[in-house]
Symmetry: none
Subunit: 154 residues, 2 copies
DNA sequence: TTTTCCTTCATACTTTTGGGTGATTTTAAA
DNA sequence: TTTAAAATCACCCAAAAGTATGAAGGAAAA
């Protein structure tokens, strides 16, 4: 528990400690050089510089990098020998707003599986498959699974 | 040229100016409060805080936000289609002993028609279509019309 | 001529599919 | 933080599909 606390706040602890050490140093410097009235401005300047440096360092250390996700589309050529089924995919299906899961159902459906078999294969209930297929038919503008298959193979 | 310089280094100029202003302020403060020896530490502390804040602010303002770019490569499948070869010719169908009428049903079935629609198109009753399709499934060794379609398109 | 197959159709029953609605949870986006 | 979409599942109901069995007329083959 305590070690976790230390690990989590390591940076802050280090900073606090070094700050304390610095204050001691300053106190020491005070008794050594402050007598020279001329050195006062230098002293102030030194403090300013040190703390500003500290501030900059702190800020740079503590700011979390913003994560910017860049999605790069890499074209991958797929040579289709005798599978016109999935040409439909990227081009048309995305336009119709067919989700990934619906696509899964569609593929298994066109493979001739029953809703029950699809449910087993996808580890979901029969009702879920029905819901997906219903929405699928809506989006594909068909009435039956056989028509959906036709649209896929057309 | 000069304006561009100002625009580019606007922040630095602002910072420099405000730093100068602050020094004037400090100088002024020096003559007002430094006499109180007791206030010396407070003075130092104030400077430390001000400059550290300044440093933090400066660091946050001047540094370009750390951007950790995560490149996610998404494979975009480009289908280079060759010849889809799907002809379930008469020879194969005849081998399976599929009759002419059954073939009619099969074709309409694979076109996505329902049994009722097939019945209307062929001018026979629904029961007849069912009989044909049942025998069809037997001969094709499938359980569903979707599988029959698959076999046709495979 | 008997047999076989095709075609047609019916009845009865079961299974599968599809529509509609609504709830919950998760995930992604604004 | 709020909103929206996706994914999950349930329940009910209706339509479609599929199975089993039987029957009858017609064509072709044994």
């Amino acid at each position: 528990m305590l070690t976790i606390f230390f690990a989590k706040n390591k940076l802050i602890i280090i900073y606090g400690t070094s700050l304390a050490a610095l204050l001691f140093l300053l106190k020491w410097l005070e008794y050594r050089f402050v007598i020279i009235s001329n050195a006062f401005e230098i002293y102030i300047g030194a403090i300013a510089v040190i703390f500003m440096t500290l501030g900059i360092w702190l800020a740079l250390k503590l700011t979390k990098p913003k994560i910017k996700t860049v999605i790069v589309e890499v074209e991958k050529e797929v040579f289709v020998t005798s599978n016109p089924n999935f040409v439909f995919n990227e081009n048309e299906l995305n336009k119709l707003g067919i989700s990934k899961r619906e696509l899964d159902v569609l593929e298994l459906m066109s493979a001739g599986l029953s809703n029950n078999e699809i449910a087993e294969k996808l580890f979901v209930s029969l009702n879920t498959v029905k819901t997906h297929s219903s929405k699928l038919f809506e989006k594909l503008d068909v009435k039956r699974r056989t028509q959906a298959i036709e649209k896929l193979n057309a």
